[in-house]
Symmetry: C2
Subunit: 410 residues, 2 copies
């Protein structure tokens, strides 16, 4: 992993979020989609000039209209975009032909106001599914938002994309390289239940480095693998998940193969912070759980073991109850479909050895229980002599999760 | 599926459970493994003579000692067995070499008392993992149990294998064929959290038909696919799961290819009843949820879609809250890894159409909500033009599940 190889001293957190990099403006307002609260529900992130763009999208077979449209535009523009328009309160998913027309129209209206083409606008939505967008509110709001574009208002974007999120999520870093410094910023929302309907994760990243589209796409994919794709709240992948990145080039640093690790470091630093914030804000979550799997034959096998542990309701409830239940961890690993030697497997919780050589070390349980009573839980599973590993983040499963997700949709 | 093709009128429920078929005796007693309660914790099911035997075992890579031993004995005996010895209160899992020795000894002691060979005895355990069996209590109990063997006491076996089960589970049927009648009986336990450690499902079936071992194994596997392997409480597969069947031949009916469908009918009827009872008794369960998937390209794809829906925490909490949330059902199907056309997919809850042609029918939501307020929920998902389907049973996810599984292990 590049983040392990590169010196972290070159990456420095800076205040602000998605508007930290130069060359971008944003606006957020209440369009009227979230009728109940009057909260911000529409935002635009615009580059001063057409920027490099990249995106990763939900693997769910059922894809919301904005996902279909943004994919199509990224392909048609060959990785160039001027702006991202996003709304909360309505996911525009399972809305058939009309949903596609509405998503296209959001990009067309944004493009017209910015004097660019619809293909240079990306769109994202989050909220209730199966409900059409109130376009009579969305269309004028887009015009008003474009008119209000200004720098330094990333915090409003972070709030405008929230649904049941407890707090806005934003982060930014400056990366120092031999050829100068560039900044990476971002904001994200989710992933817990959104409205009473759907867990959606959205992430928007920006950088003022100049990055060829192919390199930007590669770096986004590689960084997401270790961050956004390494978190799980309940294993349910939404129809609307996406992460988009724009590179303005406004700072004068151009990313080539030599500087690729620096770009990756910046994306990793911002994405990891946002991803962990998403898990900490997971519905009903009381603990952040970091699961390290090592000694696997391949990175994919490590990931499969880690995700199976992370999504096991028995493991998640045990952590919630501060029960150092290594048996559930071993059993989850065992049903992951990955072959490994149980006799050579070790399990540690909070650094405390609980299972080794096929046998428990229950005398250590009280020490591990003390660790589990905290809010940051670390589980380490070593599968043996393999050279691959990975880290996954999840949260505990609480009665509050059931309450939030079981309440009748009114 | 054979059960759909065969006339059900030939299968008649009869009172009693695993001891209903002729040619078997049983005994159950308190060996002292469950020290806290004094409850029954050891049982033996013995055929009057060596019987045909078959078994299916957990797919978890981590296999408890009794699983390893029973597999080995079934292979060595080429599908013949005289008895099954089973204990509750201790799973004898993750117990290393000593665990294997203890499981072997349980079969050897049973065999000695019955004057047969250890290979003709199968063994199963359920309870806490990572703890050794108290062999000084188990060994004399086995001798006492063999001495107490008698017919007609299947209800004691059903109670002796319980851990956190709310009620004993047993069922039996008589199958009428052109060549005479035979009986199939059974008992099962699980699957919710067992002790505070492990969800284990055990099933023991008997029949007084004479069945060649190969046919018995095939019928057990085929019937389990539609019953025991079609249920899920929390997606966690235990290290100790197994279903064993013995065929005494005492009723004089011999199963050949012609009567295979009748045997399958009998096994299906008993296994389905036990499997559904397990789900109804799932930890914290307040509703039995039957999920029918149709229109899939293959049976495996139907099963994958049904299991993904059944294990989705978002679907299970929505059902708990009586929320007719077709969106979570469609999204779960979409992330199952199976390709299908969302535009041709329909979702019904309690027979009420909620999603069709890619669009919701939310006007029907109140009617579906009324159905969801009951204790028996039926979800139907039609994926389109495919000819394959399957049925899976699960339960809702309640705050009580979290409470039961999150309590600290004392």
């Amino acid at each position: 992993m590049a983040d392990a190889a590169s010196p972290v001293r070159d990456v420095t957190p800076v205040a602000a979020g998605v508007m930290a990099p130069a060359g971008f403006q944003s606006a957020a307002l209440h369009a009227g989609i979230k009728t109940a609260t009057g909260a911000l529900d529409l935002a635009i992130i615009a580059a001063d000039k057409t920027a490099s763009a990249a995106g990763i999208f939900t693997s769910n077979l059922v894809q919301a209209a904005p996902i279909v449209v943004s994919r199509r535009h990224l392909a048609a523009s060959e990785g160039r975009a001027r702006a991202i328009v996003v709304n909360s309160g309505c996911a525009n998913a399972c809305t058939g032909h009309r949903g596609l027309t509405d998503a296209e129209r959001m990009t067309a209206e944004t493009a017209a106001a910015l004097d660019t083409t619809p293909e240079h606008v990306l769109v994202a939505s989050t909220g209730v599914i199966g409900v059409n967008l109130k376009m009579e509110k969305v269309v004028p709001a887009i015009g008003n938002a474009v008119a209000a574009l200004a720098p330094g208002k990333g915090d409003e974007v972070a709030r405008a994309i929230m649904t049941t999120d407890l707090a806005p999520k934003e982060h930014a870093v400056t990366v120092q390289t031999a050829r100068g410094a560039f900044t990476v910023g971002g904001t994200a929302k989710g992933a817990g239940m959104i409205e009473p309907n759907m867990a959606t994760m959205l992430g928007f990243l920006t950088t003022d480095a100049a990055v060829p589209s192919a390199i930007l796409q590669r770096a986004l994919k590689e960084s997401a693998r270790e961050t956004f794709n390494a978190i799980t709240v309940d294993g349910d992948t939404s129809t609307n998940d996406c992460v988009l990145v724009l590179a303005s080039g406004a700072c004068g640093v151009t990313i080539d193969e030599e500087l690729y690790p620096a770009l990756l470091d910046g994306l990793l630093a911002v994405s990891r912070e946002l991803a962990i914030a998403i898990v900490r804000g997971g519905e009903g979550a009381t603990k952040l759980v970091t699961i390290h799997v090592r000694g696997a034959r391949t990175r994919d096998e490590a990931h499969r073991v880690a995700k199976t542990i992370a999504n096991s309701p028995l493991v998640k409830t045990a952590i919630h109850g501060a029960d150092p239940n290594w048996g559930r961890i071993v059993a989850a690993a065992g049903r992951s479909g990955v072959m490994f030697d149980v006799e050579r497997t070790t399990v540690r919780v909070g650094g405390v050895l609980l299972f080794e050589d096929g046998l428990p070390h229950d005398q250590n349980a009280p020490l591990a229980a003390r660790h589990l009573n905290g809010t940051d839980v670390v589980i380490e599973v070593d599968l043996g002599p393999g050279g691959s590993g990975c880290t996954v983040w999840t949260c505990d499963l609480s009665a509050e999760y059931v309450r939030i997700n079981g309440e009748y949709r009114t």
